[in-house]
Symmetry: C2
Subunit: 410 residues, 2 copies
């Protein structure tokens, strides 16, 4: 399939792409994960920014009809669906529009490689790894909302970004806050990097009650409206563990300088501390439009539709230590981060399987971390957690971990 | 008097001076206001940093014996006392040390112009203006803890800094926090800049009780150990008004984008907000060693002896709106900031007179803002608040305001 006839891409340093306010050419975006929670928020920011952005390609997972609606609404010229089973629905949805369509994982990679100034990587799960890696390897600036790319294959992906000169912009609220707090400073000057956790719906629950939590209880996040996988991970605090691993790769900060603090209001998202006692915090209301608008417009600023937090109106910001006894998933992730090698890859894959089983009501909430823990134990015993240096090696560990976790479920 | 035989100064961009860690040559400092609260904290940071800094000159106000002790402790080669009445004590204190000494305002200017990599401007009150302006005009990097330099003559001083390429590093905790939060960003991208106020000892007092407050009550600041003038200004919130005026000049942010929020714990010191809803906060424990260490080492980082705030240990950070009805001094300062011209200069001078009278028990706390208000009214009526474009014009307005305020006291 040939690429669209976009004008040649201008090289602007290490993948930094920005259209000054008032410039004629809109910034060209590829939106991977267009039908998900982050993708829909991206579409909203794009729609609200009056022609500042042009979405050249969208990609989705399984819902062909939803992807068709997204492509039509955004005026994309290419729509790629990961699962060929939804291709007919996609084609039907865009019939007569002139939008090009394709299906299968290769189609998503093709979307990621369309000529663009910024690729938004917002596909949930390991499915986002290949297209994101392709975009990074091609030197594209990538706004990263997909955690698995770095959790699963952080070393290989960061090495590819360095080789290709690809700029990574963190779109997760925590990493975006830290990126903004850093303001280009050398990570070596940071003595401690902290991400906050809302504490999720079970923050004040006993270990026993958490173990018996239902699907509906785990999906009732107090602050954030997100997809189901990340919402469960937020309830178990595994999400914070994955974010620590992601922060380690994104910012090059060693494991022992990374920390989590519980902050129920989700206003402060990340903090960096220096030897002189200075502490810089990145804050925002818990609304993805802020980090999305920051990434899309970077290094410019645009209106996101979300105002900065009004601290006097909020009254109080509270903080407490994370309780690893009640939230063992966080402890497992910290352990995997410190261990390094293939441990984070295996942790993430086992967790994917466990969360899917919980969402399918096949296991209880208390079993989530046990499956992850036992998968890691089995893989360590079998010598299956050596460090992956390529994405292929990382994916191999990922699949071994998935198989082992599935076997534990059976 | 000839300058010392220091090695020729290396030019490093716009007055940025920094010695890399491990470099042989220590960073040369001039310490103006060595015997005051900030000066003593500077001396502590210098003493704790194992030869990283060399204090070439110190200057003080009236206490010759204290300045002599400071010069000896810091190993300065020159000590300048503003008030010649203390010269004999200074000379007696340094007898046999080989330290050069001089007295009078010109001597302080000479100290400011000694060959150095950074001049710390920590003289309290308008007395700091002339030596600070001299250092800035000579292109020296200046760490600014003296508010009056910018409040009294902001336009002229900032113009001189631009002409001479002098780097200004804000040493006040609020401006230092904002400087760190900005991380070199363009001030035009900031939609709101907020400094915090502890609220002082009278935060929860009624207007009537505040008006009748005693000297001891006003000097009992809940969080900060500072000199008496700034402590009284903190109790009236005039200090926040002066800081807004200072921020306006330092960061080039217009008056209507500047705000104050009350934050009793004094952990968050300043915040900047962007159009996309991002809010970056500069935090530190309420200990001047953090902003001092930041300025002295900039752009490197050193250990200050103060750890970054532990948010989980603190538990809660609270915020409330500033009450201009109970704290009229803040309202007067905001009004003067918006009016511009000579109004901030006059406000500051009248406040200096009023605070001195309060500290001498000649007026009550409630009279502080009345004297400032009436001075400004009289000067506006007499056409005496036109914009000063030079330091001399600013000082003229300053002295007119002082005379008018003294007349009101009589």
């Amino acid at each position: 399939m040939t690429h669209s006839f976009a004008p040649p891409r201008l090289e602007r340093g290490a993948g930094i792409a920005a259209t000054p306010v008032g410039a004629v050419e809109p910034k060209r975006l590829v939106l991977l994960g267009a039908t998900g929670s982050v993708g829909r928020s991206c579409a909203q920011v794009v729609a609200d920014s009056a022609g500042r952005f042009r979405v050249v390609a969208v990609a989705g997972g399984r819902d062909g009809a939803a992807l068709a609606r997204s492509a039509l609404a955004l005026g994309a010229s290419f729509a790629a669906l990961a699962d060929p089973a939804g291709y007919a629905e996609l084609k039907a949805g865009i019939a007569g529009s002139g939008i090009e369509a394709a299906a299968g994982p290769e189609a998503v990679v093709e979307a990621a490689l369309r000529e663009a100034d910024l690729v938004v990587s917002a596909i949930v799960g390991a499915a986002g790894l290949a297209p994101t890696y392709a975009a990074i390897s091609a030197g594209r600036a990538v706004a990263l909302a997909n955690k698995e790319t770095l959790v699963c294959a952080g070393e290989a992906v960061m090495a590819a970004a360095r080789r290709a000169g690809a700029r990574l912009l963190p779109m997760d609220s925590e990493h975006n806050a830290i990126f903004q707090a850093m303001g280009g400073r050398d990570p070596a000057t940071i003595v401690k990097m902290t991400i906050t956790a809302s504490g999720g719906p079970f923050r004040e629950w006993s270990a026993e009650r958490i173990a018996a939590a239902t699907r509906a209880e785990a999906l009732a996040h107090p602050n954030w409206a997100m997809g189901p996988k990340i919402t469960i991970d937020s309830a178990s605090l595994m999400n914070k563990g994955l974010e620590l691993i992601e922060a380690h790769h994104l910012f090059g900060v060693p494991a022992q300088r990374l920390a989590v603090v519980v902050h129920p209001q989700s206003i402060v998202h990340g903090l960096i501390a220096f030897a002189d006692g200075s502490l810089i915090a990145g804050m925002a209301s818990p609304d993805m439009r802020t980090p999305i608008a920051h990434c899309l417009a970077y290094p410019e600023r645009i209106v996101s539709g979300v105002a900065a937090p009004d601290l006097a109106a909020l009254g109080a910001l509270t903080f407490e230590q994370a309780d690893l006894a009640r939230f063992p998933a966080l402890g497992l992730a910290i352990e995997a981060l410190r261990e390094g090698g293939g441990a984070p890859t295996a942790l993430n894959a086992a967790n994917e399987v466990a969360v899917a089983a919980f969402l399918d009501a096949r296991i209880g909430f208390g079993a989530l971390s046990r499956i992850v823990e036992r998968t890691l134990e089995a893989m360590r015993a079998a010598g299956e957690t050596s460090a992956p240096t390529t994405v292929a090696q990382a994916l191999a560990i990922h699949h071994i971990a998935r198989d082992r976790a599935l076997a534990l479920l059976a």
